[in-house]
Symmetry: C2
DNA sequence: CCGGATCCTTTTAGATACTG
DNA sequence: CAGTATCTAAAAGGATCCGG
């Protein structure tokens, strides 16, 4: 197995590297929602089921610092924060789309229905 | 967010469903190694860095029971166990391949070199 | 409105020892 | 050779409270 280093952390596969950047429960859902529009925090919160503020803000912060998203603070009262996708973020959309398609086909073959 | 049920577990996205089946640290590496050949347990163990017997056998068992792999026990002395990929498993290869490609491109842009 | 800080629970994975 | 069993450690995620 090959082996790479980043941030003093070891990675053994490129797939593992992908997941370190956009893996986890919420990052792909976030990117997917931002793929063609600017969305504010509270809208993301509403549209992603069950996400806690802790996880949402943590994931947004990481996606921003990894260059997938941009954050814009609009100093109104009350404050308003908008998130948008970057070019780097947009490059992740095709793979997320492919994962979704594969997921739907898997679910169909496994006989899973929308609830 | 949509919502699905399988095994009394809730899934919110098709991507999440994919990861429940072939996610985690070792499942994709296993599938990738079996994509074009039959491999025995000890060979998998050697070729996947740092995997413990516990994790390897656990993941192999799940991949088998989810229909991605087949297991064949050859009653020699000492015993010999071969794992092969099924058609269902093979359907996962394109997405793994795409993830690998995306991973390599991400790594390159992030300036990561083989160690 | 947007989240940071803290604490807690759950899930995942590593270490070690042992068996048919 | 190919695992299982047990225990522990680490990572991910959830709940709640609070502050600019």
């Amino acid at each position: 197995m090959p082996e790479f280093l980043s941030d003093n952390k070891k990675y053994y596969t490129p797939v593992e590297y992908v997941f370190s950047k956009i893996g986890g429960t919420y990052k792909m859902p976030i990117l997917w929602r931002l793929k063609d529009k600017i969305v504010r925090y509270s809208e993301l919160k509403k549209s992603i089921s069950n996400v806690s503020d802790r996880m949402l803000s943590k994931n947004l912060k990481e996606l921003c610092s990894d260059g997938f998203l941009e954050k814009k603070i609009i100093a109104e009262v009350p404050v308003r924060v908008e998130y948008s996708i970057t070019e780097k973020g947009n490059n992740s959309i095709p793979i997320i789309s492919a994962l979704r398609d594969y997921g739907f086909s898997l679910m169909e073959k496994d006989g899973i229905n929308k609830k």
